[in-house]
Amino acid sequence: MFGSRGRIFGAKKIHEIEEKVEHVHEDIEHVLKSHSGDEEVSSHLKEIDRHLHELIADSKSLESGVPLGLLAAGDEGVVLGYCGGRGVARRLLELGFTPSSKIKVIAGFPGLLVDVKGSRIALGRGIAMKILVDLDERWKDSD
């Protein structure tokens, strides 16, 4: 099984990965067709294909994410990912900006003050714009 959410938390762009995933998907389709007789192989391949679809769905949800920098005081959301350099990514992770963390904006725009894991972190505008947040209500029941 792939890592829990296959999240992109590094420098790669979402659509690049989507493209790659599409290619792999096509390959699998192709192999499935030519080896439809082999039960075991087919079922494994179907497993893999299912995960690929999950991946695409996840990356699409990343696309539906809103840059944190655009939110206003009072907005809440869940961290989806960060599209930037590794150094800053690590910093953010240490401070608690892990995927599926809930955050709330306390003040700001363009720079921001957010509540994450109970502490207050001030973020410069550049970084805030690269953090993607899901404002979707459905994540709210995980506590």
């Binding site: 890592g3 608690g96 109970g118 502490s119």
Partner: protein, 240 residues
């Protein structure tokens, strides 16, 4: 041993702004001095504290959020723990901010340091309506947890006792670490087994910790791995 007294080395570590300086001052009072860590322009604070016939040499490590060693502060803290192997590491945790503070704690446990937690700023936590089950916390983390309010010296004596206790029980403390799920654990074990075949590496650094570092693509461990004859294999298995 120093003239009949037992001497133990204690390192203080914690996030910035947790009251580490206050605790350092409480422990060492006027018996402290400031210098520099060799080769860098970072302040090194050292001091002494005597408690129950034992002399503690206390080092105040720079405040840090993790042990990744990308910033100088973090590197100093981590290298000190690995190279100097202090008898006890006091992890000062801000009780009013505990979630994020425990991140460093978990890293310390992974590094197999002999940790005693000082749960500081209990007064602030109380005003936030936090209520701790200290026994449960201590049990889950596998280390002693001492509530303190550095400002008022509350808990300091208990802390000193706990540090002495921990120094004595040094190698017998329960090693607790985060379980990363079956798949990740399998990857970790793969790298760890390979590390174990290099006796120098295995004896200098905690193998599991080193394996995790590699999997996390921590560049700073490259220097250590480079000297190993198993370098290429290790890097391959860790998918670098």
């Amino acid at each position: 041993m120093k003239g009949g007294k037992i001497v133990i080395r204690v390192a203080l570590i914690g996030n910035p702004n947790v009251g580490k300086t206050a605790i350092f001052n409480n422990l060492t009072g006027s018996r402290q001095h400031v210098g520099n860590w060799p080769g860098v322009t970072v302040e090194k604070k050292e001091g002494k504290c005597t408690h129950k016939e034992t002399e503690m040499e206390v080092v105040d490590l720079p405040g840090t959020y993790s042990l990744e060693a990308h910033a100088i502060d973090e590197r100093i803290a981590r290298d000190y723990i690995i190279d100097e192997k202090p008898d006890v590491v006091v992890d000062i945790v801000d009780a009013s901010n505990i979630e994020r503070n425990l991140y460093l704690t978990l890293l310390l446990l992974e590094l197999e340091a002999n940790v005693v937690i000082a749960l500081n700023k209990m007064d602030l936590a109380a005003s936030k309506k936090y209520e701790f089950d200290i026994k449960e916390l201590s049990l889950l983390l596998g280390v002693p947890v001492i509530p303190t309010v550095a400002k008022t010296q509350s808990g300091m004596d208990k802390l000193r006792d706990a540090v002495l206790d921990a120094a004595v029980r040094k190698d017998k403390h329960r090693k607790v670490t985060v379980g990363y799920g079956d798949d990740l654990e399998a990857r970790i074990k793969e790298v760890e087994d390979l590390i174990l075949t290099d006796t120098y590496l295995a004896n200098t650094y905690p193998p599991r910790w080193l394996a995790i570092r590699l999997l996390e693509r921590d560049d700073s461990v490259m220097d250590w791995i480079s000297l190993s004859p198993k370098r290429d294999q290790i890097l391959e298995v860790a998918r670098w």
